[in-house]
Amino acid sequence: MSALPEFEPRGKQEVKATTCYMCACRCGIHVTVEDNKVRYIQGNRDHPINKGVLCAKGNAGIMKQNSPAKLNSPLLRKPGTERGAGKFEAITMAEALDILEARLRKIRATDPLKLAYFTGRDQMQALTGFWASQFGTLNWAAHGGFCSVNMAAGGLYTMGHAFWEFGDPDWDRTKYFMLWGVADDHASNPIKIGLEKLKRNGGKFIGVNPARTGYQAIADEWVAIKPGTDAMLALSMLHVLLKNDQFDWEFLIRYTNATHLVVHTPNQKGHGLLLRDTDGKPLVWDLKLEAAVDGTRPEISPALFFDAVVNGQPVKSVMTLIAEEYLGEQYTPENAAKICGVPAEQIERLALEMAHVAFKETIEVDVPEGWTDWAGRKHYKFIGRPVSMHAMRGISAHSNGFQTCRAIHFLQIMLGTIDVPGGHLAKPPYPKHIPPAIKPAKDCAPNTPLKGPPLGFPTGPEDLVMDANGKAKRIDKAYSWDAPMSNHGLMHMVITNAVNGDPYKIDTLMMFMANMAWNSTMNTAEIQDMLREKETDGEYKIPFIVVSDAYHSEMVNFADLIIPDTTYLERWDTISMLDRPISEPHAACDAIRQPVIKPERDVLSWQEVQVELAGRLGFPAFTQPDGSRKYKDYKDFIINWQREPGIGFLAGWRLDDEGNEVHLRGKPNPKQWERYAKNGAFFEMHLPKHIRYYRHANKDYLEFAKNAAWVGSTNQIIIELYSETQQRFKLAGQGLYDGPMPTEAHHKERLSTYFNPLPFYYKPLEQCRIDEDEYPFYAVNQRPMFMYHSWDSQNAWLRQICAQNFLYMNRQRGTAMGIKDEAWCWVESHHGKIRVQVKLVEACQYDTVWTWNAIAKQKGAWGLDETANEANDGFLMNHLISELLPVKNDPLDKVTNSDPITGQAAWYDLKVKVYPAAEGETGTWPIFPVIKPLPNGNISPEVLRYQAHTAVNLQRPMSDVLQRGSVHDNERGL
C-alpha cells in the first residue's frame, strides 16, 4: 500500500467536548477546532444520549456557526422610526444592559406584573424561572404551552413521569413498540438508536400517525389515523383488553389506585371523590377482612372490583368504574373505526397482540441481591411486560390532548408496563409523586420575590391564580377557569392578551429565542399587526419589546432592544436535572456546554445576561447581606448557588464535608466546571441494578431519590388511574365543590364537560365550532428530521435538503378532486387562506393534509436572499390557525384555542378546504414586506467554499497511470 500524506494539520487542531444544541435532544459532541474555525463535529461515544451518533442537524453545526444571520452587536430601534420597520442602530453591550436594567428596575419597584418574560426553545427554564420569581413577576413561562404540556401533564398527573424527557421505552428489552403521533424530530437520536435495537431484537414496531414519513417509514405496521382521534383508538383497544379479560391484576392492585373506593352519589357534593378515612387515607375493600381499610397499607387484599355501600356511602372501586365505562358500546372497535378511520379488525388485533406480548412473552430479570419494595419486602425478580410506547406532538397539540395522553397511559398501565423491564421507564429525577408537590405562585409585590415558582401543579380550584372576582392574574390567563391546569403557561396568548389589555396592559415584553412574530405563533399576520398597534396617544400597546436571539429572526425585527446571544459553540451552559433532564432510565445525568469558538462579535449569552441583571437589580438570592453582588458571573452562580443545602444546578462532582468529591448532593466545588470538561462535558451516574425498575414502589430507589432531592418523601408513588384532581374541577363546574367555583356559564360547562377523572374522547374544540362539511381536511404539520423549528433555513447545508415545503395530500384523494401533483392550490380555514404547492403522496391519511412547518421565512430574515425559496414558495400553516376559538357569537369567541384543561395550544385541531388556484396563480401567498438588513449585518455569499484548512490531495502516481492505465482494460480483453 502506498504511503498516504498527512491530511489533517493535527498540530493546530484541538478537540473539545461540549453539548449539541441543533435541537432539544442535547447530544454529546466532540468539536475539532483549528484557527477558531470548526473542522469537524462528531458524536461523543461515551455520552448517554447519543452514544456517538449524530443526526443531520448535529452534523450541520458548522453552518449554524457560519450563518450570515448571526447578530453582531446589540441593536436599538432607531428613535423616530416605527417598530417592525427594521431600522436599528448598533449600540454596545454595556449600553444595552444599562437600558434594560433601568427599564426593569422601574417595573420591579412599581408593578412587577408589567414585565412579561417568555422564553422559547431554551433549555434553561430552571434559571429563567428562578430569575422571574426573584424579579417578582407571575408572568413567566417557556414554550411548553404550545409544545408538549399535554404530554407532561398527562403523564405527571397519572404516573409521575411522562414521555420523552421524563421517560423512555426500555429499548434493550422491549418486544413491541407503539409510536403515537411523533413528528420526526422528537427525540432525534435516542429514538433512532432505539428503533434499530428493537428491530435487531426482532421486536415489532407500530406507527400510529396520519403521515408515513420518518420513523413511520420503517414501521412494521402503519396505523393511518385521523388526527385528534387517538383517545378513541387507545380506549377502544382498552375495551378489547377488558372484553378479553387481559389486564395485569397484580400490577393494578399493588401499584395503582384501581382498588380505591370512589363515592358514588351523582349530583351531590362529594360525588366522585375518594372515600377516605379520618386521616385522609384512601379506603379499599379488603377481601379477607371484609371491611374498608387504608388502601396504602401493605399485606391487605383489596378488591379490584367493588360496588356497594361503605360507611353509609354508596361506593365503587376505580376498576369497577373503568370497566363500566370502557366496556361500553361507544368504545367497540366498530364504533372507533368510524371515528379514527382505522379498521376495526386492526384495532382489535393490535390490542390482542399487545396482550400476547405483555402476558405470554413476559420477561423476568433476576436480581440476585434482591430489591425491596415500598413496604420493605424483598423480591428477587423484576417481572417485565415488554410492551412500550412513545407519544408526542400529534397527541399533545390537540384540544383533547390531555385526556388522550391519559388514555394512552391507561393502556400502558392496564398492561402492567410502567417502569418494568421491557416497558416504559422513568428517567431520573422522575418518577415524582402525583402530581409533583409544587404549587404555582399566586401573589406578587414590588421589589419582592415570589413565594414560589411561577408555574406548578394545581390539585384543585383553590390553587388557581385569580383575583377575588375570578379574573386571571397572569397575562396569559394560565391557572384561570380558561385553562386551570396550564402548568407550562400559555405563551401563545401573551401578545394578544397584552395588546387587548385583557386581563391588563403590560410595559415590557422580554423574549428569549422565541420567534413569536412568525412560525411560533398562531395567526402570524395579525400578531405582527398587534406588535405594531398603538394607543390613541401614539404609544405602542406593548410599549417595549426586548428580544435575545443569536440570529436575525422575524421576531428580532420587531424588537425595540436586541441583545445578541452567543451560539451554542460559544458559551458556558448547563443541562440540569433541575430543568429538562437528559438522564437515561438507568442513569442520572446532566451536562454542560463550554465555549469551543471565541466569538468575534459584541455578544453575550443570555445566561450571563440573567446573572448580570439579577446582580444589578439586587435580587435577594443574588445579593450578599451587605448589598454587594453574590455571583461574579454565570459560572460562579452555577458553582455556588444552592436550591437547598447540597443541591445545585449540576449534580456531579460536589464536595462532602471532608472535601472529597461526591455526586448528587454535596457542597459547591470550585473545580466543578473543570471536572465536567474533563469528563466529556457530562455527568452520568448509573443506578445500581436493584433500583432500576418498579421505582414508584422501590424503597431503596425512593430513599436514593430523596437524598438527591428528586422526591420529597419515600412513600410509594401510587399510579393514579383515577384522577381526583380532575373530579374536583368537574365538581366546581357542576356547582358541587367546596371551594372556588366559576360564575360564568361557559366556564361551568367547560369544567363539567372536559374535566373527567377517567380519560375519554371528545371532538377537538375547533371542529365543534366550524362547518366540517365546508372544511373536510384535517391539517397538521411537523418538523423534518433534518431541521429544528425556524433555526435551520439559515443553514447552507440543511436548506439544500429542503428549501420549500409542500402540502402533502393523499394521491387517491387528490386525483379524485382533480388536483394534480405539484399544482398550486388555495387552502382555506375558518380563519384565513394561503396559497401552497401540493404534492400527492401515498403516505398520507385519506382525510389529512400536512406539511413541514417553519420552513417558510419572511423575505430578508435569517440571512437569506429575497429570492430564497423559503420566502417565495414555502408557506406557513400558522396563518390558518387562530389563537382564539372560531367565532360563533358566544362567550367562547374570546377564549383561547387551546386544551380547556391545560391550555396547550391546539394547533393540530385545524380543518381546511383545498381547491386548485386559478390559471397563472403561482407562488406562495400571503407575501410579507421584505425585512431590512441590519446596520452591521453580514453579507451572504453567492458561493460558499467552506474548509477549515487547504485540502491535501491524494495524488495518483504517474507510474500507476502508466502501468495500469484504465484498470479494467485487461479484464475486458481489450
Binding site: 500500500m1 498516504l4 491530511f7 469537524y40 462528531q42 451518533v53 449524530l54 443526526c55 443531520a56 448535529g58 452534523n59 450541520a60 453545526g61 433512532k192 428503533l195 434499530e196 426482532g202 415489532k204 414519513t213 413511520q216 417509514a217 372484553k243 378479553n244 379479560d245 377481601l287 383489596p302 379490584l304 372490583f305 369497577t320 396482550a355 400476547h356 405470554k360 439559515q794 447552507a796 447545508w797 440543511l798 439544500q800 435538503i801 428549501a803 393523499n810 403516505a843 398520507c844 385519506y846 437569506l864 429570492t867 430564497a868 425559496n869 451572504s940 458561493v943 460558499l944 467552506y946 474548509q947 485540502a951 490531495n953 491524494l954 495524488q955 495518483r956 495500469r964 484504465s966 479494467h968
Partner: protein
Amino acid sequence: MKLGLVIDLDVCVGCHGCAVSCKQWNTSGTTGPLTDYRPYGEDPSGVWFNRIRSYEVGDYPHNKTINFPMSCMHCEQADCVDVCPTGASYKRAEDGVVLVDQDKCMGCNYCSWACPYGARELDRSSGTMKKCTLCIDRIYDERLDEYDRQPSCVITCPAHARHFGDFDDPESKVSKLVRERGGYALMPELGYNPTNRYLPPRITRPIPTEDVSKKSLISSVKEWVNKAVAR
C-alpha cells in the same frame, strides 16, 4: 481487500445524518471544499458525495416509504475509470476504493456519464470531479481510534444502518451481514459489479393472538370475580 459499505434499509429512517456528516468531513477533507452554490439564495445546491433518495412503494393504505442512501458503489467494473482520459479517475489496487486525483482531473464529465448510480459530482468552482472517497483520509489514519478509522457516514448513522468493511474477508462484519440478511447489489444487471450492498427490510414476525382471546367475551363488570392479591 475490497472495501465498501453495507446499508440496512430495514432501519434507515431517511434522516440525512450520513449525508451531512459526509459533507462536513469532506468539505475539509482530501478533495475539499465541497462547493455550495447560492447557499442563501434561490434553489441552493452544492457538491454532496452521498444523497438520500426516498421512494414510495404500494398504494395507500398498503404503501411503504423507502429511504435509499446512495453514494459511490466502488464498482469492480468501474466504467467511470475506463472512460477517464487523463488517468485522474482510478480504482486503487490495494483496496478497491475509486478515487479522483484532483490534480489530474480536467472536469470533462465523461466519468459522470459513465456512472449509472449518479455518484459523481462536478465541483464547478474547482472544475474537478469529486466523489465519495470512502473517507480515505480517515480509514488509514492511525492517529485515530480504531473505531474512528471508518467513513464519517458510518460513524454518525443514528440508526446504525451503515457498516464499513472488507468484502474480501468472509469473516468481516459486512460479509456476514450480507450472508445473513440477504444483502444485494443495486442494478447488478448493468454489469458494473458494485461493491456496496443493501440489506432488505426484515420480515415481521407474526404475533399470535388466540392465546389471549376469549371465546365468550366479557360483557359486564359483574362477570369478574375478585382474586385475593396481597398488596
